[in-house]
């Protein structure tokens, strides 16, 4: 932009200036570029490359075309973890956003103990996932876990929460929502505080009710934040798997396994690195589609202040 302005102003020295400005810009970009290229772009390309080769455990790796991808399409476990991941995303994203909004609106008002409440809501975010998983593992332990003790107190029978394929996913979803919502609340809180108070005054002069104001003014103004959060939550649902290592190892019978955890298993328990590369490429493709949808499509439909 600066360079462009200069070019129109002084056409004579334009070329030299452009070069200087460009070099300057490139130099400023260089550190980030080097880091990204080494630790992000190169690994992605290498992964893509390896996904087209055989494992070569005994003998050299040979080019096999899309054979690894065909094997993936025939892999029942792959389809199951993909399905699990979809369920996991569809459940955690809306739930954590709704909860975050609710908490933010609550602690945005002037109430006693506001700082304490904010702190309490934010605490789960600060804890490492590994610690959280260990705490919740105790909640869900059959018979003497917290949940079963409470149920028993009210005369219900206990349940093997994490050992039952029917309940294990719900258990993990509840925990992740609890862990994530506090983090998203902070964004909503910040956004709520940027909404000018005049709007509220104007609305009350016009006689708009609180719910109406929230629905027609607050929510639309929060949309950029909602979009940001939902993309983050969606991406998180694909890359957050620490809890599985502690709580279920993806079991029973893959009922709680997610795509990234399956990749880890294939790579570091089965040592099938080329198939792991194939699965990784698939995961990257999914995440890329999400990112592109945000930047190209959704951004245009959102009202920015």
């Amino acid at each position: 932009m600066v360079a462009a302005a200069m070019i129109s102003a002084r056409p004579k020295t334009a070329k030299r200036l452009r070069w200087a400005a460009n070099a300057n810009a490139w130099l400023l970009l260089l550190p980030a570029l080097v880091l990204l290229a080494t630790f992000t772009h190169y690994p992605i390309l290498a992964t893509l490359y390896h996904s087209f080769f055989s494992l070569g455990r005994s003998g050299p790796a040979t080019f096999v075309g899309i054979e690894n991808y065909q094997a993936m399409l025939e892999d029942d476990v792959f389809w199951q973890v993909l399905r699990n991941n979809l369920v996991f995303a569809l459940a955690t994203v809306p739930a954590s956003i709704a909860l975050a909004l609710l908490m933010a609106v609550w602690v945005d008002r002037k109430i006693t103990g506001r700082s304490f409440l904010r702190l309490a809501f934010f605490t789960p975010t600060v804890l490492p996932m590994i610690a959280v998983a260990n705490i919740w593992l105790f909640f869900y332990t059959p018979d003497y876990g917290l949940l079963d003790q409470i149920l028993r107190f009210f005369g219900f029978s206990g349940h093997n929460w994490l050992g039952d394929p029917g309940t294990v996913m719900t258990c993990l979803i509840v925990m992740v929502v609890w862990k994530e919502a506090g983090f998203f609340m902070i964004f909503y809180l910040a956004a709520l505080q940027t909404i000018p108070p005049e709007l509220k005054e104007a609305a009350s002069v016009e006689g708009a009710g609180r719910w109406y104001f929230f629905r027609r003014v607050t929510l639309p103004l929060l949309m950029p934040t909602t979009l940001f959060i939902s993309i983050n939550a969606l991406i998180n649902s694909f890359k957050l798997v620490d809890q599985l290592v502690i709580m279920t190892k993806g079991g029973p019978n893959n009922a709680s396994s997610l795509l990234l955890y399956y990749i880890y298993e294939v790579a570091f328990n089965f040592w099938d690195t080329t198939y792991a590369a194939t699965l990784t490429v698939t995961l990257i493709a999914i995440l890329a589609v999400i990112a592109i949808t945000k930047f190209v499509y959704l951004d245009r439909r959102i009202h920015y202040q």
């Binding site: 455990r57 005994s58 018979d143 003497y144 994490l162 079991g251 029973p252 019978n253």
Partner: protein, 427 residues
């Protein structure tokens, strides 16, 4: 600029360190080892390593605790692929084929001296089976186990059973379990009859049941499995029936890691678990408990289990020799006895049971030799090519069956099909 200088400095330091270790007198060894049972076993290992170093000042051993068996294998393999492998490790005895396929380890026979053959023959043959392929010995037994039945004698008395007569057959175990189940006023179970863990090592428990039903799960060359044989299916059916038909075991997956607590809290009157947990149970039990061999269907039996020492190929000849010196020290009768007493694992040589320490211990605590006595019926643990993958397939099948998602027949048919696809390459 700064980054570049730093990188250069680091490179220089690494090179210097390389020279340093080359010229120093002491041989440095790094060893990864796992702990899969309860109790402060890392302290025991550290203490033994300290004593070894005192007796052998020219060898330095850095013993690194690396998690459970799978974690340790992951760490060792990752380190190897990253070019920094350990010189020796304690890994699953069953990881042998995988380590051979990855070209990671060397046979031990070539490293032992003139008296080596006698030493190799001093171990229990049942424990050597997992480490010998063809003429070569690839690993040395260290923390080895069999599965045993732990039972709560007080609960037996309370249920009107003879506390000195643990179940000897499958039928007896189911019958006794029914008597041992306790319910509260509202009909909720407060004590189960028996629990067999189905997470983590589900394949191991299935193998125990299959052996008792007189069915082996794999061939010696490690490229064929028999999961869908009629007798294997019967074995899994019995397991599932304990929870679904007899209702003496909780439904759903039973967690390996918390099962010991279940037993110690009196939530179950019997459990199947590794003998490696014996000392942890002994130290924490507030009731009288007994240890028995697993009950029989057609025969007694249990797979062996646990970890062996491996020496890595990438180590220098000097390091490999030092590693064997260390392994010989760790498995000598006195140390094997000490390790067995402090953990509960079976001491790996018969001579260890002739030491004074062991004799005194066994006199006061006869439960300690049950796992050893079971060795005569033991069969090598499931060990095939691509073991990690096969274990996962079997574990999934076991979990599908115990959670009721599939019948034992369907689950094992599917496991067989998947395994065939994996093992085809190795025929």
């Amino acid at each position: 600029m700064k980054f570049y200088t730093k990188a250069l400095l680091a490179a220089g330091m690494i090179t210097a360190a390389g020279w340093g270790s080359g010229t120093a007198h002491a041989v440095d060894l790094t060893m990864y080892y796992p702990v899969a049972v309860g109790g402060p076993l890392t302290n025991v290992v550290d203490d033994m390593v300290q004593r070894f170093q005192k007796e052998n000042p020219d060898i330095k051993v850095q013993a690194v605790y690396a998690g459970n068996y799978t974690d340790t294998m992951t760490k060792a393999m990752t380190a190897m692929k990253g070019g920094q492998p350990p010189q020796l490790s304690v890994l699953f005895s069953t990881d042998l084929f995988t380590l051979m396929d990855e070209n990671a380890i060397v046979p031990i026979d070539d490293l032992v001296g003139a008296d080596g053959k006698g030493w190799l023959d001093s171990f229990y043959p049942a424990f050597m089976e997992n480490g010998r392929i063809g003429e070569k010995t690839w690993s040395i037994p260290f923390q080895r186990s069999t599965i045993v039945l732990y039972y709560n004698k007080d609960a037996f008395k309370e249920a009107g059973l003879d506390p000195e007569k643990p179940p000897a057959t499958w039928a007896e175990m189911a019958e006794m379990s029914k008597k041992l189940v306790k319910k509260d006023a509202s009909g909720n179970v407060t004590r189960w009859g028996v629990e067999i863990p189905s997470t983590g090592y589900g394949y191991w428990m299935l193998q125990a049941l299959a052996i008792e039903n007189d069915q082996r799960l794999m061939n010696e060359t490690g490229n064929k499995v028999s999961f869908n044989e009629k007798k294997t299916v019967e074995a899994l059916q019995y397991w599932v029936d304990l929870s679904r038909k007899d209702q003496v075991m909780p439904t759903g997956a039973i967690e390996w890691g918390t099962l010991r607590t279940d037993f110690l809290e009196g939530k179950t009157a019997m459990m199947w678990h590794t003998t490696g947990n014996l000392t942890a149970v002994k130290d924490a039990a507030k009731f009288n408990f007994g240890v028995a061999m697993l009950p029989a269907k057609e025969r007694r039996g249990s797979p062996t289990g646990g970890g062996n020492f491996y020496v890595f190929k990438s180590a220098t000849p000097e390091q490999q020799k030092a590693a064997v010196t260390f392994i010989r020290w760790m498995t000598s009768p006195e140390r094997a006895a000490e390790w067995s007493i402090k953990s509960g694992y079976v001491a790996v040589t018969p001579k260890a049971y002739e030491t004074e320490a062991m004799k005194t211990y066994v006199q006061g605590f006869p439960q300690a030799v049950v796992a050893r006595d079971q060795l005569q019926y033991a069969v090598p643990e499931l060990s095939v090519h691509e073991n990690g993958r096969i274990y996962k397939i079997v574990n999934d099948a076991v979990q599908a069956a115990v959670t009721g998602a599939q019948t034992p027949q369907d689950a094992l048919e599917s496991a067989q099909k998947q395994s065939e696809r994996v093992l085809n390459r190795y025929r």
